[in-house]
Symmetry: C3
Subunit: 346 residues, 3 copies
């Protein structure tokens, strides 16, 4: 299953310095790579590892060409991390060639559904009335595509994905197992101590090239749709509330929660476990640190953080106790300042 | 698919001021509503928008009747938000009429299961031995109802819901896709550095009119049952540990975690991403802010909060560093106070 | 369905003091146990309840033998909590005897899959090409075992579990409903404001006696595998990123998120809702409190905490506002100190 460096450079470009016939058995991290493995050095700060790695060949930027070529074979390119990303795609395509499209006879496809060309549908999948499946889409086992829902061309739904009625997923998207698109948003009117359900009449619209991680949920809108822009990347176990809008190419790490009617700009990032409260607006290019709670709109690009620093438990307990006295401490400092001022003006 | 205002008021009541034959094509938010759309103004603070909205008609409280009727057609009622909730229910029923109940031949139903009247069971659903499905219940595709489990009358399980053995779901509940009821609680006895499993012998009992969001999990009890009261509303991706008890009409937003054996009162609310530690008690009408960690029992109704305020990263770093010196800072203030006291008593 | 105390001691050992023929109908918590129920007292601090409980019999340590036997029948053993754990296992086995293994004809098993002896496979399960299912394993309904994946001997997959291609689950593991093993790790290279996918070429390797809670996700590695050690216990709704390594017998409570390439030692514990950032190392026997964010590697065993203490909302608001002035407050204290020093050295 190995490939020669010459084949790799033939497919992906870059300047090959050294042995084009070297056979690469595997892509590997720099620290553990061996003689039949290919690794990459994206940043100058890892340059020191060039001398110690046992990798058979390295992908490096021009600035590290001399260092890399003096130790052995290398591929020189503009952006080694990007090159590496494309290499993983090429590698996967080489080793896991696409299967012939096939609609499983054990899938349940409504006669009124419109199925494109070269579509795969797995066993026990359910495609509802009026649903449309674009050309080349792959619907995994146990997936559900609801009534009048649409799956774009080339989109991949792994297993056990649920796309609710009328929801739309764009082209070339990837939805991992357990994703739920279009469950009801969380909307209730209080009435005499009980909750009266507000039916969620909107849907979910997802752009192109969106990737959604395992067990992530995106609720349908109350009246308007919940909207996910093009190129958005969501990790696992994320909750996106109703009527949220996420701009193009924004990325969120695992366990993030975005409450209803939040509007998040394009090219933003949200770290793992962060919470964005409802009805807020985040501008384009806002970056939120992990585990941070966004309690107000943010109108300027930048990095924003709020998290209690970790400490050994005894130190934390002491500081947390002091924290609850912080308002009082400020008053004490103010009193000291006034007293000292008085002394000096006496 | 439009409906006249006269039809709406005929079905839901309220005082119609203006044009009863106006056709409403859609319910819409106040800010974006157009001439064929109906919106609502629940609170006086949105009154200013009455003059600018392009909505064809408005639902308003009596206090806004003059302002609303001077601009055009309106429905006057006691509680516009409640009216709106009921309107969404009526609207959905008009536009998505209930399907005829149908038990799919591709479902796997154990012969000893007891299936009520007018029940729907979707393709590839599995209903175990001794399970009971109440009249009018709807069991979606890929759902699993375990051995001796019970689903109440009129309850809706969307797709891919798992209800474990002996668990009971009440009447008129809604369980969204991916919900897991009755997985084992997290119980282990430590022994020589390893964990010995404590089998979870209890079950889960869920009251009536409970709604449970996508991919939310409620674990079975260790010995007693985990109990969810009537009218409880749980959003998506919530974790409810074993032996938890949640009182009637309590609501929890997404990503909440409630650890084992916590007892939460009735009419409580828990904000998104909050964590409630185990073995605690929350009184009735306790409200927990988003992302707050409940580390002690709370015996008084009220709003409780604990979260690190978000800031730009540089400011946060500075304050977080200071926070770790907070105990020391208090000591320094105390020293200053003593010194100043000494000076003054010299 | 009751069992005599004599039967219990015959099966599990311990010294029986009192009535061996007493019939036990149920295991119950100490506080609510009744005359036909058996309970346990693990710690001396619960000793006071020995006099008030109505339990028919008690499991106690030697130190409480006199107190317990003076009130009635008891089982004396070295570690009552461990005894209780084993008792729950025995009790479950008595009351839910194992079913005869059965491969459902409605499961979809690829001809090239290798199925061991006494394997159960539920309806609508899908076992891919080259997959191996070990002897005595049980694969629940709607589970998916991917291409070339392996499930170890005696392992139980409840319903709707997805094990991705080439992933390996060890022996005697338990995976609860909705678990996703081997979704793609979250890896993208930035390029001109967009994200280029890094195909995840690794897999997931899970040791023996691992238990994984409902809807928990473990992503496959980018190049190397994600590795979960023996005896690891993960609660519900946990996210484990790509290339994470978790040492033997580590336990994590619900809603934890572990970012990519974190290395967590053996015998660690991570409390509910905690977040571990990527590329960090935690030593063996590190304990992380609930809702704590681990932002740096931890090299010493111990308990580590970081969470904002909960307070009533008004007090929190005041302290949170002060917190944002904390850097400034330190400067003011420093100024006071210098001023006082100057006064004293004048």
């Amino acid at each position: 299953m190995s490939r020669s460096l010459g084949d790799i450079v033939g497919a992906l470009g870059g300047e090959l310095v050294g042995n084009a016939s070297l056979q690469i058995a595997r892509l590997a991290p720099l620290a553990t790579a061996r003689a039949d493995e290919l690794s990459f050095v994206a940043q100058a700060r890892y340059a020191v590892q060039i001398q110690t790695t046992e990798a058979g060949a390295l992908i490096v930027p021009a600035s590290l060409k001399d260092a890399a070529s003096s130790r052995g074979t290398c591929i020189v390119c503009e952006d080694p991390y990007l090159y590496f990303a494309r290499l993983t795609q090429w590698w996967k395509a080489q080793h896991e060639p696409a299967e012939e499209p096939r609609v499983d006879p054990g899938a349940r496809i409504h006669p009124s559904a419109v199925i494109g060309d070269r579509v795969s549908i797995g066993p026990f999948a359910v495609v509802g009335p009026g649903a449309r499946i674009g050309d080349g889409a792959r619907i995994g086992p146990h997936c559900i595509v609801g009534r009048d829902a649409a799956i774009g061309e080339g989109t991949l739904l792994y297993a056990q994905v649920s796309v609710g009625d009328r929801c739309v997923v764009g082209q070339r998207c990837i939805l991992h197992p357990g994703v739920v698109i279009g469950a009801d948003g969380f909307g209730f009117a209080p009435h005499q101590g009980e909750w009266v359900k507000i039916e969620q009449l909107g849907a979910v619209r997802i752009g192109d090239e969106v990737e959604i991680g395992a067990n992530t949920c995106i609720d349908r809108g109350a009246l308007d749709d919940t909207v996910i822009g093009n190129g958005v990347k969501l990790d696992n176990l994320i909750q996106i509330g109703h009527n949220v809008r996420i701009g193009d190419h924004t990325a969120m790490a695992g366990c993030v929660g975005v409450a209803g009617t939040a509007t998040i700009g394009a090219h933003c990032s949200v770290g793992g476990g962060a919470i964005v409260l409802g009805h807020l607006t985040l501008a384009d290019r806002v970056n939120i640190s992990a585990a941070t709670v966004v309690t107000r709109s943010i109108h300027q690009p930048g990095l924003y953080t709020g998290m209690f620093p970790i400490d050994d438990n005894a130190a934390w307990e002491k500081n947390a106790a002091s924290l609850k006295q912080l308002g009082r401490l400020r008053e004490r400092v103010r009193a000291l300042e006034q007293r000292t001022d008085n002394d000096h003006t006496k």
